[in-house]
């Protein structure tokens, strides 16, 4: 089997040459600048049961890009891939999206089992939910079950299409859109802003002389074996210990809260940092500490998504699974899941509008702290857990650290170990 990475590179080059997608190179990974919209979509195509949301204004090539990638990876015509997607609107129903009971079964003699006619979308392993925020809030709940699962159930019947690549698109809030539920957002692995083409890209796109459907025929095609093999290639990428440690610390930095039940910010309801939880806490207003700057904690899904997308991005870029990749990937995994407090986000240089840039800053700060300032306390904790150091001594030494992870995570863990 030929190297699938070469085919992916050929696909990237074809999209540009055919003027099908020319995006701004808005993301730096080490010394390489890449288009985040394209590369996160490609990364998702190399993974299974993860969801990428492309977020942006009209005409930013969100839906077409996903369909073009589907054309290449599934080796289908563009029209066929377009038939696989569902588009949000208030009259969309579960029957139209997933399937419906076959009425012919009741006229067939001797038929006992209930038969469901599954839709193309339900059976497909490349699922695009177009304009997801045009589904009314109640209907969005349907996707809670479907996303990241391999099964779809309807009328007591279960369809198992297998490991699936999920994509979704959405516009900013317009008059006919509905807000996305936090639980649904947490099931979306990565959210990528889809930018309008810049001046040069616009010039290049104006050179496109034929219809997208015709040009799509020229894209390289993956065989089913090649497409199936992609997750295994990604799984072979090893993340460094630094990345694994930085991911764990990043999650704890966002989630720990001295005033939350169990020190877990995901347990909060009503009161949160944006609603006056933090004044008086000595971490409050300390720019080195993340807890008070966002309302929500991060779920364990974030850890899985960070590891998977770091691997996939490293695979696509021929890059080691190191901190450069994590620093580039993590903000896109986190920013749609959190709400920064207003006073922090509205100050320059964010002006209340540059949430992704704000989260980039938080991620950078957490990773830098973990690498540069937490070594000593992490090693004390590690030695105590491994039994190389007395628990009492470790507790005494850790109590000198005013870091939230030491105070709210390490010390309670060691105290529990001492009580056993």
């Amino acid at each position: 089997m030929p190297d699938p990475l070469k085919k992916i590179e050929a696909l990237i080059a074809s999209l540009e040459e055919l003027r099908l997608h020319i995006g701004k190179r808005d993301l730096s990974v080490g010394s390489r600048n890449i288009n985040s919209q394209l590369f996160f979509s490609l990364a998702n195509a190399c993974l299974r049961n993860r969801a990428v949301l492309l977020y942006g204004g009209m005409g930013a090539n969100k839906t077409t890009l996903i369909n073009l990638l589907g054309t290449s990876f599934l080796s289908l015509g563009l029209g066929d891939v377009e038939n696989l997607m569902v588009t949000g609107h208030p009259e969309q129903t579960e029957e139209k999206m997933v399937g419906f009971l076959d009425p012919r079964q009741w006229t067939r003699p001797g038929s006992t089992a209930v038969e469901v006619l599954w839709t193309l979308w339900a059976r497909s392993r490349w699922k695009l939910i177009n304009e997801i925020n045009r589904f009314p809030s109640g209907k969005q709940n349907l996707f809670l079950e479907i996303l990241q699962k391999r099964k779809i159930s309807y009328a007591g019947q279960v369809l198992e299409p297998g490991d699936t690549c999920y994509f979704a698109t959405m516009n900013p809030e317009f008059s006919a859109t509905y807000p996305l539920d936090e639980a649904l957002l947490d099931r979306i692995s990565v959210c990528v802003p889809a930018m309008q083409p810049d001046f040069l890209a616009g010039l290049a796109l104006s050179e496109r002389e034929r219809e997208v459907h015709e040009l799509a025929e020229k894209l390289p095609r993956f065989t089913p074996e090649e497409f199936e093999a992609l997750p295994a290639y990604v799984a072979r990428v090893k993340l460094t210990s630094q990345v694994e440690l930085a991911i764990l610390s990043l999650l704890r930095d966002f989630t720990l809260c001295e005033r939350a039940p169990g020190y877990d910010k995901t347990q909060l309801s009503g009161r949160n940092p944006g609603k006056g939880l933090c004044p008086g806490c000595h971490y409050f207003n300390n720019p080195e500490v993340l807890c008070w700057q966002v309302d929500e904690g991060l779920s364990d899904r974030v850890r899985q998504d960070l590891r998977d997308f770091c691997r996939a991005m490293s695979f696509l870029l021929h890059h080691d699974g190191d901190l450069e990749v994590l620093k580039a990937v993590a903000p896109y995994v986190i920013w749609h899941r959190v709400t920064p407090i207003r006073s922090a986000l509205e100050s320059p240089p964010y002006y209340g509008a540059r949430k992704l840039a704000f989260v980039f800053g938080l991620v950078e700060r957490s990773i830098n702290r973990t690498l540069n300032e937490r070594a000593e306390m992490n090693l004390i904790f590690a030695r105590a857990v491994d039994g190389e150091m007395a628990l009492d001594e470790a507790l005494r030494e850790l109590s000198a650290y005013d870091d939230p992870i030491a105070r709210l995570d390490f010390i309670p863990s060691l105290e529990q170990m001492r009580c056993r």
Partner: protein
């Protein structure tokens, strides 16, 4: 893999030791953020402890529109900025400008309410008319305004106030010290309940001048309205002429 080896692998012996600086929690992002920490009616010391040391950041905080909710915070910040500034600080017309000012100078294009309230030192110059409560409870420093509305220099204990035009009602209400000069006319009840200090009015004064006053001195160059010095217990009132029912013991100017 043992936990220790995992950590050693992650750090590879390159770790630096630096602990979280908990005292660095001084960053203030805006008036709303400041209010989260100290409330909307704090003491000046609380605001001073958190006011940014950086002049640009402080300037950004003062440039923000405080609205009714954060006007006291803005007032304190305006005084702190004026005290730190080596030149007179020009500010837009807002309530509570120069609140508890100790030194330095503030120039306002126009004055709103509570300008120079509780000031202890420094100077405030208002190019235009000020609102109500100009220099209320001031104990030092000086205010010069082109005019003002009611309750100017109420409960004044020290310092001076000059109104170059007309003053509204109740000027110098409850004063126990300080000097007030009004170069135009003055409304009703100037020097009401006055216990000390002086009020000089270059033109006419309204009715009930020095009502219930028990100390201090009021001088009116023009005419005082009716019932000047009514129920006066002490102090001195002089005027060019008096309206009807002036109290006994008020004096004409020589």
């Amino acid at each position: 893999m043992s936990m220790k080896r995992f950590m050693e692998d992650a750090y590879q012996g390159k770790a630096r030791v630096k602990r979280l600086e908990t005292r660095r929690g001084d960053m203030v992002f805006g008036l709303e953020d400041l209010a989260d920490r100290v409330g909307t009616r704090p003491a000046r010391a609380e605001v001073e402890a958190l006011a940014p040391a950086d002049e640009n950041l402080l300037g950004q905080l003062i440039a923000a529109e405080p609205g009714k909710k954060y006007q006291v915070l803005w007032g304190y910040l305006s005084s702190i900025a004026a005290e730190r500034s080596s030149v007179p600080l020009r500010l837009p017309a807002r309530d509570f400008a120069g609140l508890e000012l100790c030194r330095g100078s503030i120039i306002l294009e126009e004055g709103k309410d509570h300008v120079g309230e509780r000031m202890k030192g420094g100077r405030i110059l208002v190019h235009g008319s000020a609102g109500d409560f100009l220099g209320q409870e001031m104990s030092g420093g000086g205010i010069v305004a082109w005019g003002c509305r009611d309750y100017a220099f109420r409960n004044m204990r020290g310092g001076f106030g000059v109104v170059r035009g007309n003053s509204g009602n109740f000027t110098g209400l409850g004063n126990s010290g300080g000097r007030i000069v009004v170069r135009g006319n003055c409304g009703e009840r100037a020097g009401w309940l006055m216990r000390g200090g002086s009020v000089r009015i270059a033109q006419d004064a309204g009715d009930f001048l020095g009502l219930l006053m028990s100390g201090g001195m009021i001088a009116v160059k023009g005419r005082a309205g009716k019932r000047a010095g009514w129920r006066r217990k002490g102090g001195e009132i002089r005027a060019g002429s008096f309206g009807p029912e002036a109290a006994d013991g008020v004096l004409g100017l020589d």
